[in-house]
């Protein structure tokens, strides 16, 4: 009884667990239950039940309500599909002038808007692409095909790779200095001589459109939300869902709205990249001390000047993190959007992975990662650049970068011209190295993989079998054994114990949505994979983080490593694991673990670092040893921040689990991938995406509420 009074929370939790397990044991598995295709399939099966909603037929396998809730939301994907179709093809038809046929044509307004938007995006991408690679679409856009036939020399020749490489190096030098210039030059040379030039430039042209657009929109909406509470309130729920929505899921609706190709990819990328940019812009602007704003006002700033010259530069730290996120998302979308026909490295990467050509995949992946790191560093350097007003510079010194670029431009062209004589009859390597004519290490890697397989096959296989049979399968079975009602009780109970009625209601709503969707079983499988990944990631991340924290240098080093790893597009993580474990759940899980360990490690180090120095000294003076200090002072104080790391770890893990569907898993991701090729896929894809997002949001809500309470309790809010 005394304990009960002393730790009431503990007993409440115990009680919740008892109820949960009691429900698990009390509710039997129905005899008809098998882990089947998902409860709502649209094939006819005599065992299925049927209900009608809004005139739509929804078929599902009926069970005891306590075991699995009927998919009452089964109509949602169909309804979304029909609505989208209606909006695109029938809603508000209007007369539009058609340039090609020279007559008015009736078209639904949304279709017309989408067509105009895509035309604009296509133009932007093509423009950059043709500057880098040559072509004639841009010229044609302003003139006509007849015109180009008459003057064929107008076709853009494209820049020789030497000029682009020199340009990148000079720009990097101007922005940052020798180090970055060297890195830029080497990256470009690597890309070129490994024959990845064309796809790299295609990807680059896509990024150079998507990233700035995302940045501008994100910044603009962030500023709007900062200025108006109403805008913020309207944006916030969307931002929250988008933060945890897997990128895959946005593909399908975009396919319906914008069609196939690079332009659709740019729009999807913006949809995914803008939300974090908005959030970080708001965060940064909110953190500006009011006196700085007043100082700006007193200097006589107009509202515009105040925003551009005072607020945004002062908030630049957070805005830069936003830029970093935008670039990260752009590159990971550059790969994913290959599914809907975007050209470039992503396409090559997917193709290579599909053919199990690990070597090729590795090279393409390395290219993407290198460009990603380069752009990230360049944007960072650009934001931190400074002007020198006092240097008494000569004309040459002031314009040396322009002069160098002009010189390398001329030299590049001369080289390319000379190349036409040297490489007569074959490819002009000084102009562009074609895709399959570069050096390739693919064979080497493939042989390496073969060798590893041959040598370690027994061990890998044994490990694989053990993991799957003794750990994963039983774990999966346990998750699937949970009756729906028990899961609901557990989730809502946890919500109530952590955040009171409010949290309980939020969690209940989110969980119910998933439970009433046709994919509850799949969601459980997703959850089991994510749980496994998160547990291992946290174990590794917290340990590594704590160990690295013991030494300032190693901590800084580890944060640097996290930075670099975070810049890799998520798909790249699949390459090495497929190399070792082939197409199994193990591969996906290891990729999940590697990917999700990044935030776990980062937040552990940052959390431990944020413990005030004064406390260290106080602790030392109280005579604690290193271990005691860690367990009694640093961990308790850093724990809230580490829990935010856990939150990120969960989101990362969910993302990777969904991407893992590419290798072949049985979770929600698999269905999203399937939806891509389904003509009714838009609704299914979106609903599935929302399900995954909601799984993330349940944990997000619980963890954030807990952290806020705890921080208040510790007085470090």
């Amino acid at each position: 009884m005394e304990y009960l009074k002393k730790y009431p929370k503990l007993f409440q939790w115990l009680f919740l667990l008892v109820v949960f397990f009691a429900l698990c044991f009390a509710i039997d598995v129905p005899e008809t239950y098998k882990f089947i295709r998902g409860q709502a399939e649209f094939v006819k099966d005599p065992n299925q039940s049927v209900y009608f909603f809004l005139g739509k037929e929804v078929r599902y396998y009926a069970f005891d309500v306590f075991w699995r809730l009927p998919p009452l939301l089964g109509w949602l994907p169909i309804w979304i599909n029909d609505s989208l179709f209606f909006l695109m093809n029938e809603w508000m038809p209007m007369e539009f002038w058609n340039e090609d046929t020279q007559e008015f044509k009736t078209r639904p307004i949304l279709l017309q808007i989408s067509r105009n938007l895509t035309a604009f995006m296509t133009f932007l991408i093509e423009l950059i692409r043709e500057i880098l690679l040559g072509g004639l679409e841009t010229i044609v856009a302003f003139t006509s095909w007849d015109f180009i036939d008459a003057y064929p020399w107008l076709e853009l020749p494209g820049l020789p790779w030497t000029i682009v490489a020199a340009g990148a190096a000079i720009l990097s030098y101007k922005l940052s200095g020798k180090g970055l210039a060297l890195f830029a030059g080497l990256t470009m040379i690597y890309i070129s001589i490994f024959g990845q030039w064309k796809p790299s430039m295609q990807t680059l042209s896509f990024i150079l459109v998507a990233a700035p657009l995302s940045f501008i929109f994100g910044l603009g909406l962030g500023i709007a939300a900062y200025k108006s509470k109403r805008v913020e309130k309207a944006l916030y729920p969307i931002l929250l869902v988008m933060q945890t929505m897997p990128q895959y899921a946005v593909l399908v609706p975009a396919l319906v709205l914008f069609g196939v190709g690079d332009h659709a990819a740019v729009i999807i990328t913006m949809v995914v990249a803008v939300p974090p940019m908005i959030l970080l812009t708001i965060l940064g602007l909110r953190a500006i001390p009011p006196e700085v704003i007043e100082a700006g006002r007193m200097s006589g700033c107009t509202n515009r000047q105040l925003m551009l010259k005072v607020l945004i530069p002062t908030a630049r730290r957070d805005i830069l993190i936003g830029v970093n996120q935008v670039i990260m998302v752009c590159f990971s979308m550059a790969v994913i959007s290959a599914f809907i026909g975007a050209k470039g490295l992503g396409f090559n990467l997917l193709l290579a992975l599909n053919q199990l050509n690990i070597g090729l995949a590795l090279e393409a992946g390395l290219c993407i990662s290198l460009i990603a790191i380069l752009l990230d560093k360049m944007s960072l350097a650009w934001a931190n650049k400074q002007t020198d007003y006092f240097g008494n510079l000569t004309f040459f010194q002031r314009n040396k970068n322009v002069i160098f670029f002009a010189a390398s431009f001329v030299i590049g062209i001369i080289l390319a011209y000379v190349g036409t004589f040297i490489f007569k009859g074959s490819f002009n390597y000084l102009f562009e190295i074609p895709h399959n004519k570069g050096i390739s290490t693919a064979d080497f890697w493939n042989k390496g993989v073969d060798w590893i397989f041959d040598t370690f096959f027994v061990y890998i296989k044994a490990f694989n079998t053990w993991l799957i049979q003794d750990v994963l399968q039983p774990m999966r079975a346990l998750y699937l054994r949970m009756p729906a009602v028990a899961t609901l009780v557990l989730a809502v109970g946890a919500g109530y114990l952590i955040g009171g009625i409010r949290s309980a209601l939020v969690v209940a709503a989110l969980t119910l949505f998933i439970a009433l969707s046709p994919w509850w079983d799949r969601a459980l499988v997703t959850l089991y994979m994510a749980t496994f990944g998160v547990v291992i990631s946290c174990l590794i991340g917290f340990t590594v983080g704590t160990l690295c924290f013991q030494n300032k240098k190693s901590a800084a080093f580890m944060l640097g490593v996290c930075d670099i790893f975070q810049t890799f597009p998520s798909f790249v993580y699949l390459i090495p694991v497929m190399m070792l474990f082939g197409i199994t759940d193990t591969s996906v899980l290891i990729a999940v673990i590697v990917y999700a360990t990044i935030p776990a490690t980062r937040y552990t180090i940052e959390g431990l670092r944020s413990v005030p120095v004064g406390l260290h000294e106080a602790a030392t003076m109280s005579g604690v040893n290193k271990f005691q200090r860690l367990t009694k002072i640093e961990f308790p104080l850093a724990f809230p921040h580490m829990m935010l790391g856990l939150n990120q770890t969960i989101v990362f893990a969910l993302f990777m689990v969904i991407i893992g569907a590419f290798i072949g898993t049985e979770d929600l991701g698999q269905y999203i991938l399937k939806a891509l090729s389904d003509k009714n896929g838009a609704g299914i894809g979106l609903t599935l995406g929302i399900c995954v997002a909601f799984i993330g949001l349940i944990f997000d809500n619980l963890i954030r509420t807990w952290v806020e309470k705890r921080k208040k309790h510790l007085g470090i809010a």
């Binding site: 006002r297 007193m298 200097s299 006589g300 010259k309 630049r316 006092f390």
Partner: protein, 343 residues
């Protein structure tokens, strides 16, 4: 009488939703407690005063007394809820946004407690900022900023970033920035409060030196009574949004208007604040000694000389005319006596 630069007529600032309506209903009799019950917080309550050209008015009050709010009303960083404010005869509250910006660009400068420097700009860029906002050419603004850098003694550090400077140095940048556009009116919001005592004293002296040279019209906010005494031409003491007393330092020390003001003056070393004129006997006296002291001399500086005299000492003005007399015993009275009696 020199011309009035800042003039406030019953200025009110009340925070809260229906503040404006409630103020109108109250007919100018604002009671902080009843307002608070209705969810409003009174920042400034019926403030009326004038500041003449070249004068330094120090507003003194503890935190939460509304002194910063008052300053922000006069610089229109917040809009006053009621009352009128005139800057050089212009009705400040009637100005539209464009006119207000123009006024700030040409006439006002402000220094902040936390320095409020722009973290991404160097010292010289920070100082040139108000000029560049105005549209001055880069070269011209940088040259002007360099003059300011020299004025506040930061030469050699013009390319440092604020984060690389000490607090005192950062505030020098803040001061230079506020002076860059050569404003007539200078607002200082607790400029030295965030500095440690030695640096604070140094900055106060530096500030007096600058003011000697520049002769700006100044409103200076502080919570430090000693600082107020040291710098002010006149002091306004605020409590709960109300100006309790507005007078010269000497009068505040000699004749505190309220119990609240008296508490501040209790610990003040009078000999450091008062001048001879404040304590002399203005009626003519024939029995004068040979010693003559100036009426503007601070007591502390001449006390020893006077106390060694046996006769009454003559007080003279700047043209050496005798304007009054002072007994040595009066000095002793002033330094030790007054306080005990609680005058």
């Amino acid at each position: 009488m020199s011309e009035t630069v800042i003039k406030c007529e019953s200025v009110y600032k009340i925070f809260g939703e229906n503040a404006k309506k409630m103020l109108e209903e109250s007919n100018g009799n604002v009671d902080a407690k009843t307002f608070q019950e209705k969810g409003c917080i009174v920042g400034v309550n019926n403030a009326s005063f004038e500041v003449a050209k070249g004068e330094m008015l120090v507003v003194m009050g503890l935190s939460g007394s509304g002194k910063s709010t008052l300053l922000r009303c006069i610089s229109r960083l917040t809009d006053a809820t009621g009352g009128k404010i005139f800057i050089e005869g212009q009705d400040l509250l009637e100005l539209n946004n464009k006119e207000l910006i123009e006024l700030r660009r040409s006439k006002m400068g402000m220094v902040f407690q936390s320095f409020a420097l722009l973290p991404h700009k160097t010292v010289v860029e920070n100082i040139a900022f108000p000029l560049q906002i105005k549209g001055t050419k880069t070269e011209e603004s940088i040259n002007r900023a360099m003059e300011m850098v020299k004025l506040v003694g930061l030469d050699g550090r013009e390319n440092y970033f604020p984060r690389e400077l000490s607090g005192g140095q950062q505030q020098r940048v803040g001061i230079a920035r506020s002076l860059a556009v050569e404003p007539d009116i200078w607002f200082l919001d607790e400029p030295f409060s965030a500095l440690d005592p030695l640096i604070r004293k140094e900055m106060q002296d530096e500030f007096l030196r600058l003011q000697e040279k520049l002769q700006k019209t100044i409103m200076f906010i502080t919570h430090d009574f000693d600082e107020a005494l040291k710098l002010a031409d006149r002091i306004a003491i605020m409590k709960d949004g109300i100006i309790e007393q507005l007078d010269t330092p000497a009068n505040i020390v000699l004749n505190p208007a309220t119990e609240y003001v008296r508490k501040f003056t209790e610990e003040v070393p009078r000999e450091k604040v008062l001048v001879i004129e404040d304590v002399m006997d203005a009626s003519s006296n024939d029995n004068l000694g040979d010693l003559k002291v100036s009426k503007d001399e601070i007591i502390e500086n001449v006390a020893e000389k006077i106390l060694t005299q046996e006769k009454i000492v003559a007080v003279v003005d700047s043209e050496n005319n005798i304007v009054g007399s002072i007994k040595p015993s009066k000095i002793i009275d002033t330094v030790f006596g007054g306080r005990k009696n609680g005058s």
